[in-house]
Subunit: 142 residues, 2 copies
Amino acid sequence: MSLTDLESKLRDRSLKCTPQRLEILKALHEAPAHPSADTVYRIVQGRFPSVSLATVYKTLDTLVEIGEIRIALVSEGKTLYDTRMSNHHHFLCRCCGHVEDVDIQLDCMENCLPQVMGKYHQVERSEVVFHGVCQKCFQPEI
Amino acid sequence: MSLTDLESKLRDRSLKCTPQRLEILKALHEAPAHPSADTVYRIVQGRFPSVSLATVYKTLDTLVEIGEIRIALVSEGKTLYDTRMSNHHHFLCRCCGHVEDVDIQLDCMENCLPQVMGKYHQVERSEVVFHGVCQKCFQPEI
DNA sequence: TATTAAATAAGAACTATTATTGTTTAGAAT
DNA sequence: ATTCTAAACAATAATAGTTCTTATTTAATA
Ligand SMILES: [Mn+2]
Ligand SMILES: [Mn+2]
Ligand SMILES: [Zn+2]
Ligand SMILES: [Zn+2]
């Protein structure tokens, strides 16, 4: 959220705090959840028309690297980004591709995991993807 | 697995059982787990050089539609396919992108889910993606 | 204010995937 | 077995998403 937060993260890695980066971060938060690069690009254009799509891509990469946003591994085709860095899960509609946050606490996963994976991998986090059909696709008559 | 199984699935939907489709299905099972369209294409080429990449893509779509394979929602960039239709999970290395099957039974998820999601969505299945660093990337000195 | 490494805009290039089109073929009907 | 036809195919053009290249600009530092 906070720009100061971002500034210090950038400074820590000797990355420059440019107006483009600030606008892109703002756009990410204004956008509907899980926006694509193109969605972000269009929002940024409203206030900062000279910004290029390549800069948006590059900046999104950077923001992922410094841990301001992450990629929502939930879409075929285009990359979607997620500004929510706290632990949460996703529901994915197989009809319309709609992605929705799922906020439930699944302690069991976090609990049992370290033992199971411990000797093979370094597990950093886990997320659930629920597959199904969203309300809109299930009852399209409304 | 069984070709008879495939044949009947195709027949049920009045889809033709072509040699290309059979070879592509075979290639999918010979390939390392979670192959891309291109990986499948190359394997098929060995035995059936006239097959086109477009046919591979189209056939993979078809196989997904009839439920012979599924898309492994686990990669940025290119689509990966999964021949294992039974419930399982994935580990994804953030360094090298390696995808590994995770075979643990997480009853808790299947148990708590229907209630939580019930009124909002039709949940058909759920899978966990574990994010982390694989052994190879963690100890690259070997 | 001058310096410089990093970031940017513009657009070409690239990769994965889908669409188009004319030809072939599997499977059904004779 | 031969004919028929919708479906599938090969070839390849087109598109979408993303990355790369290069000349120019700029944030941060001295
Ligand atoms: Mn989310
Ligand atoms: Mn798998
Ligand atoms: Zn839907
Ligand atoms: Zn790895």
